[in-house]
């Protein structure tokens, strides 16, 4: 679908501009849902000062395309937009953006949720957090796996 738009980049992004880019000059879109993830200053350890995001170039884009493709099979989407940042980021920086557009709100809501759940469990990104007490690789959460699994039954 040509309205699928995926970017893996170091630069920051502006959620408002991205939503507008997807929805402007269109009259068939009735609902746009966006999710923006930010870097927190606490995670497994307190005082996270920065994080570094590594990815698998090539496979990341393919994995995201596949997730969007799966979402398009389940919901009537008019367009999607995914931006994921890589490299070094500090607390408060935006890290990921998923925007979905549809004619009616439920499709956009559910698809956005679905894409984030699978992005977190399927797309090859890894976070390393830098804290006052040292650097460590973030471990995967069971809750994220469970969140993705719940889509398999409905």
């Amino acid at each position: 679908m040509d309205s699928c738009f995926i970017r893996v980049q170091q630069e920051s992004f502006d959620t408002g501009k991205e939503v507008q880019a997807l929805a402007s000059q269109r009259t068939d879109i009735g609902a746009v849902v966006s999710f923006t993830g930010y870097v927190r200053d606490f995670n497994e350890k307190p005082e996270v000062t920065a994080l570094t995001l590594e990815h698998y170039p090539g496979m990341t884009e393919q994995a995201l395309e596949q997730i969007v493709h799966d979402a398009e099979e389940r919901w009537a989407l008019k367009g999607t937009r995914i931006i994921h940042r890589i490299g070094r980021m500090e607390p408060g920086d935006p890290i990921v953006l998923v925007v979905t557009a549809s004619a009616h709100r439920q499709d956009a809501f559910d698809a956005c949720n679905f894409i984030m759940d699978f992005l977190k469990t399927r797309a090859p990104f890894w976070k390393k957090e830098h804290t006052a007490s040292g650097d460590y690789w973030v471990s995967a959460r069971t809750s994220d796996t469970q969140a993705a699994e719940r889509w398999e039954n409905n």
Partner: protein, 265 residues
């Protein structure tokens, strides 16, 4: 093995203490080449250059540079070199000049930095001598060809079996020696840090019946570091950028990636 000895535990630069290392006879050979227009090379061979004998000057420059290596490379030990030899050869195929520098000493630390410095500065001198007639010269292929002596023993660029930091029949893919009959391995995130390697080539001949599981077994048999790192029940694998199961068959040229569970978003 694959750690950076010039960094201390805090990640700060340090000069390695070599006082406990044995004094052995050590040599290292490094090469570099300067590609140029064929007419520039002709001029060097004919000796018609405005600045004089290019190859003789570059040879002396290389020898002098080897002696000054510790002044240029911050954490390099000052060494009493017993021999420095710099050969320059005109190569019509390139076309250009091929440089080979060999340094020798009886000492406690290797001389590859001296050999690399000699080859590099000889190449710079060739450029300097010829830049008036040819600005498009390219300095390339600067690398250590071989080294002998010292704790890690003899080593040669072309003979991967001599390299203790690498697995038999495997080579770091940043090296120009690539085999068509190989698997290209990639390691990411924490696994990459544990193994101290981000990519690697493994010859397909190493695996009689090539599957992903067999590749894992082969890598695990290298040493305890590999065994531990690849033993993790959470290890994920991808072949040609698609998630794959251990039973997946492998063929020459496949891109195989190993990584821990993903944590993006």
């Amino acid at each position: 093995m694959n750690t950076l000895t010039h960094l201390n535990a805090k990640g700060e630069a340090r000069m390695v203490d070599v006082s406990e290392k044995q004094t052995t006879q050590r040599t290292a050979t490094a090469t570099a080449s300067v590609e140029m227009h064929a007419s520039t090379l002709d001029m060097i061979i004919q000796g018609g250059h405005p600045k004089g004998d290019v190859l003789a000057t570059a040879r002396i420059a290389g020898i002098m540079a080897a002696k000054r290596t510790p002044e240029l490379i911050p954490l390099c030990h000052p060494l009493m070199l017993s021999k420095v030899e710099v050969d320059l050869e005109a190569d019509a195929q390139l076309p250009g000049v091929r440089i080979r520098a060999t340094c020798k000493l009886a000492g406690q630390t290797g001389v590859e930095m001296e050999a690399l410095t000699a080859a590099s500065v000889a190449a710079l001198t060739v450029y300097d001598m010829c830049k008036a007639v040819d600005k498009r010269m390219v300095i390339s292929n600067t690398y250590v060809e071989e080294k002998t002596g010292g704790k890690s023993g003899d080593w040669s660029f072309d003979n991967l079996a001599t390299d203790p930091s690498q697995q038999p029949q495997a080579s770091q893919s940043s090296q120009p020696t690539t085999s068509a009959n190989a698997l290209n391995l990639h390691f990411f995130a924490e696994l990459r840090e544990q193994l101290g390697v981000d990519n690697l080539q493994v010859a397909l001949d190493a695996l009689p019946n090539p599957t992903l599981q067999e590749l894992v077994n082969y890598l695990q048999s290298q040493d305890s570091k590999w065994d531990t790192a690849l033993k993790s029940p959470n290890l994920l694998m991808a072949v040609n950028q698609q998630m794959a199961k251990p039973t997946q068959k492998l063929k020459a040229g496949d891109e195989v990636a190993f990584f821990p569970p993903v944590t993006g978003g």
